[in-house]
Structures are given as C-alpha cells and as structure tokens.
C-alpha cells in the first residue's frame, strides 16, 4: 500500500496537501513548525489514534470544532481509496471512499510503524513496553489475537479483584482456591495462546534480524518466560496450571496474580550482554531500529507488502552513517516518512526523495525528483 496524498484541515496547526513519493519522503522544517504533526496525521489515518495524546480533541486546532485528516491510499495498481478521520468534539468519524466505516474495517486500509524517542522504551524501559511491542506485532499479523489479549487482561483484572477481596475478607486458602479455579482455567487457556504466539513471533523476528546492520556488535533477542527453569515450557498450559496450584498461598498474600505471561520479557543482548544495562544510547537506538526492521519483515512475510515507516526526528537519534545504512536498507521496501530540521540532511539524502518543507504547519512542496513507482 502507498499513501499517495495527504491533506489536513484544522488538525493541530496543519494546512495544505502533501503529494507523497512511493519511496522516501523528507518532511523538513524548523522545530516548532509542525513537522511531527504531519507524521501524527499519517499515524492517525493508520491507527485512528495519536502518538502524542490519548485525547484526540486536543489535536483539533484551537478555536475550531472540526478537524479532518484525509488521504488517498493506493492498495494495488488499480485500486485507490480515500480514507478520512474527522474529529468533532469527542467523536471520531471514520470514512472510506466517503462511506462511514467501523474501526475494525477502517484499520485494514493503511498500516504504519513508528520510530521516535518514546519508542526507545522498548529497548530501555520496563518489560511492559517490550510485551506491548511483541503483542502489537502479533496483532498486525493475526488480528484475532487482540481478543485473546483482551480476554486475558480482563480475566487477570477479575482474578486480582478476587485475590484482593479474599485477602481483605480473610477467606480460607481452600475457599480462595475454589473461587480462583474458574478464573485460572480461562487464564491458563489464554496464557497458553499468548505464550505460543509470542514464542513463535520472536522466532520469526529472529529469522529476519539484521544482527549487525549498524554496529559491529551482534544484536540477539530471546523470549524470556517467567516460568523458565520451572519445568517444561513446551507443555505451557500444564506447567502454568501446576505453578498456579502451588502458588495460591503466595498469590493470596500478595493480593494479585503472580504468574503468567504478564510477567514475561523479551531479552535483548548486544554481543551477549544485556542491552538495557550495558548498551550505550547509540547502541540502544540501533537495536530498536533493528527490531523494527525485523517487525517490517515479519509483516511483509505475512501480507506480502510493507507498512509505512514513520521516523520522527531521525537525525537527533542517529548519525548520518547509520541513517545512510538505514535508508539504503529501506529503499525498494517501505514507503518512508522522515522528519528533519537540518538542511544538511536534505542535501545528503534528498536525491530521489520527495521533499516537503513545513512552515507554520503548512506543507510546501520543495522539489520533485521522483515519480510514482509500484
């Protein structure tokens, strides 16, 4: 899929229309003029969400009541569709070819992957960020997985509420165990699905991992189950059932659920050393990109096309040598959007790219060096 054009009205400070190249698009401009807002607009079309705020009303330009982001997406040589997100007060109106669609249907139209400094939490933040990274990648490949996750999380919340109540009411161990059983049974079912999906997804990421794209050190990843060393992980459901039985007292004392895939992690190493503890900031950025590139490949092997790749403030994050490697790797693969505030970046990487200058939110076409190629 290719985003051909992008228009924004009253979405933050944006105005004007961008005509996008199938390959590299460079959104250039001084800081504070709205470069990132254009990436946010693309992200909104792909996900119906913002990566800046959870409250979309904040993205409506001050004093206005209706914001519209609209794009033309080419699905194949013969099929182009207009996709639009309108934000009016607290409602979000999604349309495809000017016909209103459900979120589910809308989400199939455009896919995008984002690289920005917030995403660095994947390589240096808490395990939660890494689980989300894995789960997001799996959902992009198997959309039904989102239901498994939501069932699991709901069961977990119910179980935690039960444990807290049992703790407070000083329920006997026997009675607690009895009341836990129906929740644990569902927990085990969904946990086993999640474990299997994540293990397989990490295998998939490993297959395409460009281990030394940016550095001489080798990046490697491994799924780290919290049940590792406790028994046979190949029979995950049985193992978890057994562990849950043993740990009722511990869970009752803690007042929340202690075992399951919500305690797992993705181990990322650099030449065998824990990246989170020992990696430099540059190495962490390289590792994040490598993970994201393999996310793109995993997506491609399922759908036979790439999502859009959005890279915010890329030159604040990486030096030109690494950017050069990255862009070379991406050419002939993804439709890529990068933002930069440096003139030298445009001069160095602008050949063959679409260059969009942003001034006070307005997109101005600088020069066109490329044509559409599909």
């Amino acid at each position: 899929m290719i985003l051909e054009t992008l228009e924004a009205t009253n979405f933050r400070n944006l105005s004007g229309k961008i005509t996008c190249a199938a390959g590299l698009n460079i959104i250039a401009g001084d800081n504070g003029h709205g470069k990132t807002n254009w990436l946010e607009a693309i992200y909104l079309l792909a996900t119906t969400k913002s990566f800046k705020t959870a409250r979309l009303t904040e993205a409506v330009n001050f004093g206005e009541t209706l914001a519209i982001v609209r794009g033309i997406v080419r699905q194949s040589a013969g099929i182009s569709r207009s996709v639009q997100v309108a934000i009016e007060g607290n409602t979000k109106i999604l349309t495809v070819n000017d016909k209103r669609e459900t979120v589910q249907r809308f989400l199939g139209q455009l896919h995008a992957l984002l690289f920005n400094s917030d995403e660095l939490s994947i390589v240096r933040g808490s395990p939660d960020a890494r689980r989300k990274f894995l789960d997001g990648g799996i959902v992009a490949i198997f959309p039904a997985f989102i239901q498994t996750l939501s069932d699991f999380n709901r069961t977990l919340r119910q179980k935690n509420a039960l444990l807290q109540k049992a703790h407070k009411d000083e329920l006997s161990l026997e009675e607690t165990a009895k009341r836990l059983e129906p929740w644990n049974e569902q927990l085990i079912q969904n946990a086993a699905k999640i474990h299997k999906a994540r293990v397989r997804y990490v295998e998939r990421l490993n297959e395409d991992l460009e281990k030394q794209l940016f550095e001489k050190e080798v990046v490697s990843i491994r799924y780290l189950s919290s049940l590792e060393g406790k028994g046979d992980l190949n029979n995950y459901a049985e193992l978890l059932e057994e562990r849950l039985k043993i740990r009722v007292q511990a869970e009752l004392s803690a007042g929340y659920s202690l075992i399951g895939p919500h305690r797992d992690d993705l181990e990322i190493s650099f030449d065998g050393r824990d990246l989170r503890k020992f990696g430099s900031s540059g190495q962490q950025r390289s590792a994040l990109l490598i993970l994201q590139l393999s996310t793109l490949s995993a997506y491609f092997s399922q759908h036979n096309e790439y999502p859009l790749f959005l890279l915010d403030d890329i030159d604040a994050e990486l030096d030109y040598k690494r950017i050069g490697r990255l862009l070379e790797f991406l050419s002939d693969k993804t439709q890529t959007f990068v933002t930069t505030s440096k003139e030298s970046f445009v001069q160095r990487f602008g050949a063959g790219a679409e260059i969009i200058n942003v001034k006070n939110g307005e997109a101005l076409r600088a020069e066109t060096v490329s044509n559409f190629e599909i």
């Binding site: 589910q104 959309p143 039904a144 989102i146 239901q147 069932d151 709901r154 069961t155 919340r157 119910q158 179980k159 509420a161 039960l162 109540k165 009341r179 059983e181 129906p182 929740w183 049974e185 569902q186």
Partner: protein
C-alpha cells in the same frame, strides 16, 4: 448551591441510579418527565408501583413472574428433565424465541464478577441443587443441565464454576456452543468470531 430546584435535582439523582444513565441522560429524562401531561406521569408511576407489588422471583427458577411458581415451572407440557441456566430473565426470553427448547430454566440474576463485588453468594445459585432431586421435581429426574451464560469472560467463569459444582452430583452438564451467526456469509464474519467458531468446531 444546587443547579436545579430540589425536586428536580432529586429526580435527576434517582435517574442516575439506573444502569447506563449518566448525568446528561438523567437531566434529559427528568425534563422529559416535567413536560409530560399529569395523566402520563400517573400511569408511569403506577406502572413502577405495580411491577414492584406484583412481580416476584419464582421460588423454583428465580424467574421474574406475577404467579409463583412461574408459568414455565408450573407448565405440564415442559420437559422437566432438562434445565437451562441463564444469567438474566431476558436471556430466557431469547431462548424461548427459538421455540425449539421445551425444558425448564434457572436464572442466576448475574454472572461472577469480583470487580463488581459479585461472588457465588451474590448469585441465585444455591436453589438449583434441590431441583435435581426427583421428589422436588414432580418425580422427574433431571438428566441434563445446559449452561447458557454469556460468552464473556464473566459468563465463562460462571459456567465453569457451576460445572464444577454440578458434575460431582452426576448430572450431565453441557455448555452452549459459541460461534458463527447463522445466515452469515463467511466473508463478513469478523476474525474473532471466526476464531471462536474454529475452536468450537464439531465432527461430522
């Protein structure tokens, strides 16, 4: 200071007690009532009073009814050897609409949900057990209990909890199947439903 005069504020507060009604809806409803002619308000009030006076829980199955036992429990033409367990009285209505089920019912009035403070003691479960003895069931033995709670996490947990209590008593316990809506084209079934339907497939 009150936004509205006391009687109006009080009415709004009462509406806010209703499930799914927030402040805005409560205001709308209150002003709707205020604009109604007196006789409409009277008939509304008497409907509320009447339902509380005349409707009771069926002693046998917990259905809401104006005769006790309810019409299903009292009927001579129903199959007393099967009991279908549902969460709410409106789930009973949905099963009845199929016209294919002729057995009895048992209504739990909810599903397990620790988050909302609903444990086994808050559901109307315990009076199903005496029903399984023939002497309490017109000398008919209950052969099967069908658990038709909702396909939600809470409904599944409730079904699971019940099955654990019923199975040791030797009664056949079944769970209704979840999956594809009938009459739907495979193309339009969402992936989640499809996934569930696939895992609940049966041999032919």
């Amino acid at each position: 200071m009150l936004e509205y005069s006391e009687p109006v504020a009080k009415l709004i507060d009462e509406f806010k007690r209703l499930p799914g009604i927030g402040h805005k809806s409560a205001q709308r409803l209150a002003f709707f009532i205020l604009r109604l002619p007196n006789e409409k308000v009277e008939s509304f009030v008497s409907a509320l009073r009447e339902v509380k006076e005349k409707i009771v829980f069926c002693d046998v199955c917990n259905n809401l009814t104006d005769v006790n036992p309810c019409m299903y429990c009292a009927s001579q033409s129903r199959d007393r050897s099967i009991i279908c367990v549902v969460e709410e009285p409106y789930n009973l209505v949905a099963v009845e609409k199929t016209r294919s089920y002729k057995g009895l019912y048992h209504i739990l009035h909810g599903s397990l949900s620790p988050i909302r403070g609903i444990g086994p003691d808050e559901l109307m479960i315990s009076n199903i057990f005496p029903r399984l003895s023939p002497e309490n069931n017109d000398d008919v033995e209950v052969k099967e209990v069908i658990i038709a709670t909702n396909p939600t996490t809470e409904g599944e947990a409730t079904a699971n909890y019940l099955a654990r209590l019923l199975k040791p008593l030797g009664v056949k316990t079944t769970r209704i199947a979840m999956g594809m809506p009938v009459g739907s084209d495979l193309e339009f079934v969402d992936e989640v439903t499809m996934d569930k339907a696939m895992s609940n497939r049966r041999e032919m």
